[in-house]
Each structure stands twice: as C-alpha cells, then as structure tokens.
C-alpha cells in the first residue's frame, strides 16, 4: 500500500460509514479479487465484478483497479486508481470520478460524473499550487516563530544535534501510527478517531517542516535576516528544496527521511517543550 493511499483510504471509509447504516465492508489491497455482496473499498490489486453477477455497492476506488464486467447496484466513487468497464457492465448509480483513470466500453451502461480535482495539472496550475502551499507554510512558520519561538527552536535543535535519533523515532512512530490509523478505520466504529489521528499526524509533520525551515532560517542571519522572517524564508527554502528533489531519482525518499527527522524531533522534545538529552553512557 502506498503512503499516499492512506489519507484517501481513510476518506473512503469515512464516506462509506457517513450514512451510519454500514456495519461491514470489504477492503482489497493486492492480488486478484472478486467483489462480494458487501460495500467495497479497492485500495490495491484488481477487484472484478464478474459478468452476470451483482455487487450492491457502493464501491470506493482509491488505488488499484476496479474491473466491472457485471452489475454494480449503487454508486462507484473513484478517488484514485483505475476503473474499467466491459461491454456488459452496468452501474445503477453513477461513477463519481474525482481522480484516477477510466476505460469505459461504449456499450456499457455506466454513467460517469467527472469532477477532476487531482488530474494531471498543467505546469502553470502546478506552479500556482506550489506557491500557495509554500506561502501557507511560510506564513505558519512566521506565526509560530513569533508566538512560540522557544519550542520551535528546541525542536530545530533536536533535529540538528540528534538527526539519527529523530529519524529513528520519527520513522517508527510514523510507520506504526499509519498502520494503527488504517486498522482503526477498518473497525468502522473508530473512523472518527482515525481521522482525528490523521489530522494530528499532519499537524506534527507540519510542525516538523516548520522546525526544519527554522533551522535553515538561522543560516540567514549572516544576511541580516533574523527571527520570524528568517523562519518563513527557511520554510520557503525547505519547500523549494523538497520540490526540486522530487525531480531527482531517490529524491522522494530523501524528502521522506527529512520529514521523518522533523516528526521525530517534534516527538522527542515533547512538541518542543523539553530539550532532548540522550541518556549518558560513559565508557
């Protein structure tokens, strides 16, 4: 399962349970599967609705492939992945396509409502999105550095002085937390907790990015830029660096590792309220 799939998976399960009458659902992650009589979330692999069979739906596609050869009794909501429909395919509701790709046979009775929100963006749109995203982060960096300079500095210091410890703690907690959140979502009852956890995770990761930006910003004092403006500029630097790295092979991994360092630094310093001091083991 891709890391990017996790939020979409949680959103899909949240939408699925929003009506309140769903008590079970099938989630597929890999391999070849056949749709059953339960509501379905396709998160990986290929799930087929065989010819001459009916799955009641709804079906959510976040990753992998949904191959409809038979009939879907309800709606299909596509947040990602692929939807295929053969000539005999029939969807009683609609295919609400928000992202991903589709190949619908012209003879299929499959009504599609397409509202592409994450389709391939044009370079200009992508640039605008990046500028907005970076601007929001920089503003957050400026405000946090102004309001809570000491905790931010403490987190940044932990990331600089103890990168390996921060990386280890950040990676461990992230991996465990993602698995735990997805697992909670599967219980359906804990979906709200899972979504709250995801929000908390995003905030911690964001705080980590601000701390890395602050760290970079402290290097700007030689140019006469200090305090909150330096942090904001540092955050811009981190954001630009991450964007540039996404074009380089393994750059994504480097960005992920750096983000883990940030998350770990936030955690080992208790959100920056306590200096991290490793235990002392004299020889």
């Amino acid at each position: 399962m891709n890391l990017e799939t996790v939020p979409l998976l949680l959103v899909a399960i949240l939408l699925l349970t929003a009506g309140g009458d769903v008590t079970r659902a099938d989630v597929t992650f890999d391999g070849a599967n056949e749709a059953d009589t339960d509501p379905l979330v396709v998160a990986g692999g290929t799930t087929t609705v065989p010819a001459n069979t009916t799955t009641p739906g709804p079906v959510y596609v976040v990753n992998g492939t949904l191959d409809v050869q038979g009939r879907v009794g309800g709606d299909v909501v596509q947040l990602g992945g692929r939807v295929l429909a053969g000539p005999e395919a029939r969807v009683d509701g609609t295919v609400d396509a928000l992202a991903g790709t589709r190949r619908i046979d012209p003879d299929a009775a499959v009504p599609v409502t397409s509202v592409e929100v994450t389709a391939d963006l044009s370079p200009v749109a992508r640039a605008i999105l990046f500028v907005v995203q970076t601007g929001v982060l920089a503003l957050a960096g400026y405000l946090v550095a102004r309001r809570w300079p000491t905790p931010l500095t403490t987190v940044a210091r932990a990331a600089r002085r103890h990168p390996v410890v921060s990386l280890t703690a950040g990676t461990l907690v992230s991996v465990s937390a993602i698995a735990l959140l997805v697992f909670m979502a599967f219980t359906l009852v804990l979906v709200p907790v899972s979504v709250l956890g995801l929000v908390a995770g995003v905030l911690v990761a964001g705080y980590g990015v601000l701390a890395l930006g602050h760290l970079l910003g402290t290097r700007l004092d030689r140019f006469g830029v200090e305090g909150p403006p330096a942090t904001a500029l540092g955050v811009v630097g981190v954001s630009v660096l991450a964007e540039l790295l996404s074009f380089v092979p393994l750059g994504g991994t480097v960005v992920l590792l750096a983000a883990s360092v940030g998350i770990g630094a936030v955690l080992v310093t208790y959100l920056g309220f306590r200096e991290f001091e490793p235990v002392s083991i004299p020889e």
Binding site: F29, T168, L172, S176, A179, F186, P278, V279, I281, E283
Partner: protein
C-alpha cells in the same frame, strides 16, 4: 574508547574485539533460530518419523536442559574467575564449536527416536555452555556506550541471513550451511584462542569494559528486584513471541505467504525489516531508557497480534506483508535488547550468572513453557483465533504493565522518602 574512536585511531585490537563478538554472537543466534528451532522439527518429524507433539516435547526438554546447563556453567565461570579470562572463554567456545560441528554434521543421519533424544541432550549441553561464554566476552570486547549498536549488528546479521538463506527448512540444508560456516570459524577461533595473536593479547588481561551501563552507581545484584524485573520482562517478550509464532508457523496460509514463502523477494523484505528494526532498537537503546524499548516491544507485539486476529476473523487467503513485517520488527527489537542488556547489568564477577539466568530463564524457560502451553492448546482444541487472542491479550497486559510497574516503583520510592 568507543568503536568509532578505535576506527579513527586505527586501534585494530578494539575493532577486532567488536568484530569477533558480533561474528560469534550472530553465528550462535543464527544456529539457534534456524538449525535448532526449525531444523529439529524437520529432523524429528520427517527424518525420524516422530509425531509433531513428541518433537515439541523434545524441544521443550532441550530448552529446560539448556537452562540448567547454562546456569551451572555461568555460576561456575563467575566463581572460578573464568568470566574475567578472555582466553579461557575463547577456549570454551572453541570446544563448543568443535562439538557443535560434529553434532551438526551427524544430524541428518539420526534415524531413531533414541538417537534423536541423545542428539537433543548433547545439543543442549553445547548451547548451555556456549551462552554464558559468548555473553561473557562482552566485558572484554564491547565498549559499554556501543553495546546497543553492537547488539543491533548481531541481531541484524543473524536475522537477515536466517530470513534469506536457506529457504528450504530441512535438516539437510541447515546442516550443510552450518558445517560450511563452522569449519572456517573453527580455524579462526583456534588461532585466536591459541595465545599467539598479539591483538588478542592486547584485549586479554583485566576486562576493558568491565562495568555495565546499569552498574555504574552500584553493581546490579543477582538477587535484586532490578535484575529479576528485567528477567520477567524479557521472559514476557520471548513468551509472547514464541507462543504466537508456534501457532502462526503451523498455519499454512499464514506462513506460506511470509517466512515459508518460496518467493525470495518476501524473504529479503523480512530480512531488511529485521535489519531496520535492529538498527532502530540499537539507536533507542543507546539514547533512551530501557523502559522505552520494552514499551515498544510489547506494543509492537500487541499490535501485530491484533492485526493477525483481525485478519483471521475477517479475511481469507494470504495476509498482507505488513503483518510479518511488524512481527519481524518486534522480534528484532527484543533480540537487540537481549544482546545488550545482560552484559549491561553485569560486572566480570556476575556476567556468566546474569547471562545464563537472563538468556536461560527469559529465553529457554519461556520457550519451554510456551511450547508446552501451545501443545496443551492444540490438544484442548483451542482454535487459531482464540490462540492469537490470548497472545494478544498477554502482550497488551505487559504493555500496560510496564508503565504501571514503573509508576508503582516510584510511589514506593517516594513513600520511603527517596529522592524526588
């Protein structure tokens, strides 16, 4: 001097010492997790034709006998001063390796139940003697600040190779691998134990890394709460692992898609997770209190078994790799802790006894009891789901028990008017 300092200053004796400890401990653990734990089942069931229950009883007997031999050896080593003598420990290990080479070579030819039991008895003697002798080397060879990282190297090395090779869990393939590894090891150990290697001479004499991390203010006594609390916690880790794994490994749908898979890629994945887990545990051990590691160990086990029970309850077919991945992570965590902990609660006067009690009671007794319990469950008709539920409950109990025990310990200290 730490290992990094030694590397910078080209202190070959220290580097050789660390390398030797890693090689011996990783080799010994690899032998244990592959040849003894998996090879013996194949030998008993397929080659000799015994029932699985009878083989499990023999393995439980091996665990108990190993515990007894380890304690006798460890106590004798400490009382006779052998734990302070590097050459004596190397020579003991040379003897153990000679015997294990012979035992390993003849294992595929064991054909009767009597021979099988005799083989198990001899094997338990070699392992029982080997455990305190190997752990005892830490006071001579492994700098105290590096013990977490060195333990991580041992764990990573043993588990990565065990996960990747051999893929076939038969006594024949295990035997060939082990004999091929033992022969050069024998030669190297023979040379090192001969007393004619100047670098080893530099390491011999008074132990260089005598006082363990947790013995700095005062030595941890054998009959103290501090020592036995650790033994109980490690016992819990081994017990939870063993009880869960014994059932998982017998469930074809679970094991054929993970540890027993014919796909090398899956084995490499599990091996890499072991390496990453060991590294993470090493970092945590060196930078945090041991409490944090125990919490991670029990938390990971609880979560892993929760995943398994959830999967068994709701799904069919092959489980996602996430599950063996988390399992491997948890196992690497406590194994790393195991290799660093016992030397760190010891001095040269106690390292043999503490290693024997620690590894013996926590490792072997836990294996014995979990094997017995698993057999009892099987005979009582306890299903897979109920079995894993129990393991999960135990892991959760231990996970919750650690902070509660720490808290109560502090309450008791403050009540006695101790430092705040």
């Amino acid at each position: 001097m730490t290992t990094l300092d030694a590397l910078r200053e080209r202190d070959w004796a220290t580097l050789l010492g660390v390398g030797l400890f890693v090689a011996l401990a990783a080799g010994g653990y690899y032998y244990n997790v592959t040849f003894v734990q998996l090879g013996l089942i194949d030998l008993g069931v397929r080659v000799v034709g015994m029932s699985r229950g009878a083989v499990s009883v023999a393995m439980a007997g091996l665990a108990l006998a190993t515990l007894a031999v380890a304690i006798v050896t460890g106590v004798a080593m400490d009382r006779r001063g052998v734990s302070r003598d590097l050459y004596a420990k190397l020579r003991i290990l040379l003897g153990v390796t000679v015997l294990q080479t012979a035992l390993t070579a003849v294992a595929p030819f064991v054909a009767s139940e009597l021979a099988f039991y005799a083989w198990v008895a001899c094997c338990s003697v070699t392992i029982g003697v080997g455990v305190p002798a190997t752990f005892g080397l830490a006071v001579d060879l492994v700098p105290v600040p590096d013990r977490g990282y060195v333990a991580a190297l041992v764990t990573a090395g043993a588990f990565f190779v065990a996960a990747v090779y051999p893929l076939e869990w038969t006594i024949g393939s295990f035997s060939r691998v082990m004999v091929a590894a033992f022969v050069p090891a024998l030669l190297v150990l023979g040379v090192l134990a001969s007393g004619r290697v100047p670098l080893i001479d530099e390491l011999a004499g008074e132990p260089r890394h005598a006082v363990g991390r947790f013995c700095r203010s005062e030595p941890v006594r054998t009959w103290s709460l501090a020592f036995w609390a650790l033994v109980v916690l490690m016992f819990g880790a081994y017990f939870v692992d063993s009880l869960g794994f014994l059932r998982i490994v017998e469930t074809e749908s679970l094991v054929l898609s993970s540890w027993g898979s014919p796909d090398l890629g899956i084995h490499v994945f599990i091996g890499v997770v072991h390496v990453l887990g060991a590294f993470a545990a090493g970092v945590l051990y060196a930078n945090f209190s041991r409490r944090a590691l125990f919490l991670w160990v029990f938390g990971l086990f609880a979560f892993t078994h929760l995943l398994y029970t959830f999967f068994v309850r709701t799904a069919e077919g092959a489980p996602p790799l996430l599950m063996p991945g988390f399992y491997a992570l948890a196992v690497s965590f406590y194994t790393t802790l195991n290799f660093a902990l016992w030397p760190d609660v010891s001095t040269p006067e106690t390292v043999g006894t503490h290693a024997a009690l620690g590894v013996g009671v926590a490792g072997w007794l836990a294996t014995f009891l979990s094997t017995s319990l698993a057999l009892y469950f099987e005979e009582s008709g306890v299903g897979l789901l109920s079995h894993l539920n129990l393991v999960n409950a135990l892991a959760l109990l231990l996970f919750a028990g650690v902070p509660v025990a720490v808290y109560l310990h502090r309450v008791a200290r403050y009540a006695r008017g101790g430092p705040t």
